[in-house]
Amino acid sequence: MGKLSRIALLYIGAVVAAAIVVVAVGPFDGLDWSEVGVLGLLLVACESSATYLNGRGLAWSANSIVSLAAVVLCGPVGAALVGSCTLLGIRRGPSPAQRLFNTGMYTLSAYLAGRAFLLFGGHVGAPGPSSFPGIIGSFAAAAVVHVVVNFTLVRAAFRLTNAADDSHGRLGLDFKLWLTDLGYGAFGLLIAALWSVLGPFTPVLVLIPVFVARWAVAQFAEQQRSYEATVSALCQAVETKDFYTRGHSERVSRGSVMIATEIGMRLERVAAIRYAGMLHDVGKLGVPTSVLQKRSSLTDDEYAAIQLHPMRGIDIVREIGFLDEALAGIMHHHERIDGRGYPMGLAGDEIPEFARVLSVADAFDAMTSDRSYRGARPVPEAVAELRKWSGKQFDPAFVHAFVTAIERDGWDAPDAPDAPDVPDTPGAPGRATTESV
């Protein structure tokens, strides 16, 4: 959290003070201290094994499962006591202030969830066969209150400590997190329900599958990241054939994703277009280097060889289990809306959507980066050029989306290359003929 403002400190102080009041006031009669102890220990274990959610400063732990089990088994005050065990968690990440805040937050959300449970007619204690299905309604109320209090307190803390990180799309993400948290919360009821038959061993058994599920999800995410990194590294290797196109694939990929997000494509399609952007020029390798580097005008045969590169690209990536859309995008990214492009000479809506997106981003990056025979053009000039050819070479809708996105988020044009640092890189390539615009 770094240095805290006075308001942030006040806020954390208030949360912690409220938690202390709740825990200190009680009442403690009828509380089974051994149950509170076991659940508290378990909460410490969960807190210690919390995992960070990708890059957002938020962490996920199984705390809410244990807190909600405590709500049913021990009531509001017991649950608050269990929640306060967060303080004892062994975790390297959080600063003392964060730790105090987390403790206060879990204590308060457990207490309020307990109140909600009672309010909606729940009975404290291990539920027996007769408690079902009545208990489900009161438990659901408790789970919702727990999630809402939890998220409100955390969101406010984020607002107060680092205000700068609000970007759009966050609400949707939050909603998804809410739902998952509610889903996990349901296991709290299962722990409570099994308490009468399995005793303190219940949470261990219930949490094993939950943790394995988390593990599997994390494995998937890690594999995905490593996949993306590898694809991008290999694409850069391909680009070493021509020093001046370094980073081109990466930037076309980024531009295509900007357009795709702007027009509201589904997430899977955005992911596919990201790969399509990275791989769109892979087929250039099939074009003889002598042709790619030729400065004088091309013979018909040579021009035909260049026009083949999208098809060569398809030959390479066909075996990858991609969406067909990405393949179609790679194949047709040199088509023009007016039908004068290659390789097929498709026009208008005949051109696959991915290809129309790629062609805008491709042309834009070609204009805004250095070539051996001319310097990079400034972004506004390139935007004007896109607009000028909109409807002839480009799909107007995507040009519009791209320009809107650039005006809002900006565009990182590549730095001018200083000198080829790769051994044997072909010097002074002049690819005037493969330029898109």
Binding site: P209, V212, F220, A229, S232, A233, T240, I316, G321
Partner: protein, 432 residues
């Protein structure tokens, strides 16, 4: 049987001898397993038919869960099959003590019959769409469940294990762990036969991969069994939910891993399309390298890295101005080879997630006993070096005399250039 497609690589690597030994072993071991499972099925169904079904509702509920689990079975990395939900359901049925307040009195025969029938019903849709069915894997799962049932049902029906969890749980836990181990051992045996891996290595791989899934499966089985006491048969559905989440994630994980390999394979071919190496070179070298690695007893994780490294071993050639004639790196100078390797490693290292692969590629051109100093290159680098040299000499040719000649030529350089163990393994694979 789907075994044939999991045999070691096509082409020059799999000679007649390899194929023959592998296939005959495959037949004997796996048919024995299938026969055993078939006998179990017949015995259990006949026995149940004679005795009558105890508590039809429970049998139907668990049977449905098992069928669903079998329908949703998934492929794990390394061409493995698992059906966590079906296994958890079947084991829960095997260790079930009461449903509500009524003691569960079904016998081991009924457990096996319900499991077998559930599995068959769940496998039917797979058959209908023409997906290969692995009888061996299904048999292994059935045997594991049968172990638990045969050991536990007599105890349960004679109420020998007490009424509280501290006397019941240890017995159940031990049995479930034992059964999962049995399944792992059988799978490892199958893999040993099919892939010519060593048993110890195969078992290690199996345990590493199955441990998390096995833990979740076992815990879910016990939960379902105990929860049935409180919630009745609703427990069956509720406690399968976390397994479902796990399964969805694992399926996506396996999917991305397959795409990963396909992508590396496809992008490795850019060197071929660019005219830097002969067509099919990376693919052949990687198949041969993996076969050698397996022969030398490398575990699966190392084999995967070896495969990546072998596929990309020539990526450094992209830095060359002019392609090496025919792409045969064995023919260029040591300095040039090292530069290609170095550049390739740099490219791969940029991904920052494949550092050990980059290291393997970097050291592929080092002789197996460096004249000067330093550590010998890692085994994977030595394997790639030999496989690459072999492929440069033989290419896509099928001629056995060329293979023999090439191996002879490599043998001349063992000791200084090539690792003798690697060359011997190579020779076993390619010389008829």
């Amino acid at each position: 049987m789907a075994g044939a497609r999991r045999l070691p690589p096509r082409g020059t690597v799999r000679t007649a001898r390899t194929a023959r030994t592998a296939r005959s072993a495959l037949d004997s071991g796996q048919s024995l397993l299938a026969a055993l499972a078939g006998l179990l099925l017949i015995w259990s169904v006949a026995q149940t038919a004679v005795n009558g079904v105890n508590d039809v509702h429970a049998a139907l509920a668990f049977g449905a869960l098992i069928a669903l689990g079998e329908l949703l079975r998934l492929n794990l990395p390394g061409d493995r099959e698992a059906a966590p939900i079906a296994t958890a359901g079947a084991m829960a049925y095997a260790v079930l003590l009461r449903i509500g307040n009524v003691p569960a009195t079904h016998g081991a025969d009924q457990v096996v019959a319900v499991t077998a029938i559930g599995m068959i019903v769940g496998a039917l849709p797979h058959l209908a769409v023409g997906r290969p069915t692995r009888v061996a894997a299904m048999s292994a799962r059935l045997l594991a469940v049968a172990c638990v049932a045969v050991a536990f049902r007599p105890l349960a029906t004679a109420s020998l294990i007490g009424g509280r969890w501290w006397s019941q749980l240890p017995v159940m836990l031990a049995l479930v762990v034992f059964a999962l181990l049995v399944e792992a051992v059988i799978s490892a045996l199958i893999r040993t036969e099919e892939l010519r891996t060593r048993f110890a290595v195969a078992l290690g791989d199996e345990l590493r991969i199955q441990l998390p899934i096995g833990a979740a499966t076992g815990a879910s089985a016990l939960l379902i069994a105990f929860a049935a006491e409180v919630m009745g048969l609703a427990a069956v559905a509720v406690f399968a939910a976390p397994l479902l989440v796990t399964q969805v994630a694992l399926r996506r994980y396996a999917g991305i891993r397959a795409t990963y390999l396909q992508t590396v394979r496809a992008l490795a071919r850019v060197t071929e399309i660019g005219g830097y190496v002969e067509t099919g070179h990376s693919d052949r070298v990687s198949r041969l390298a993996v076969a050698i690695g397996r022969e030398l007893g490398m575990p699966e994780a190392a084999l995967l890295e070896l495969e990546y490294a072998a596929l990309m071993h020539d990526i450094g050639q992209l830095s060359l101005r002019d392609p090496v004639p025919g792409g045969a790196t064995v023919l260029v100078t040591r300095g040039e080879q090292r530069r290609i390797a170095e550049y390739g490693a740099e490219v791969i290292g940029q991904a920052r997630v494949l550092d050990s692969v980059a290291d393997i590629v970097r050291r592929q051109s080092d002789p197996c006993r460096p004249a000067d100093r330093t550590q010998p290159p890692p085994l994977s680098s030595r394997i790639i070096r030999a496989a690459n040299a072999y492929d440069d000499l033989v290419g896509s040719s099928d001629d056995p005399s060329r293979a023999t000649e090439a191996v002879e030529r490599l043998r001349l350089d063992t000791g200084s250039e090539y690792d003798p163990r690697v060359v011997e393994a190579l020779s076993m694979l390619v010389v008829p």
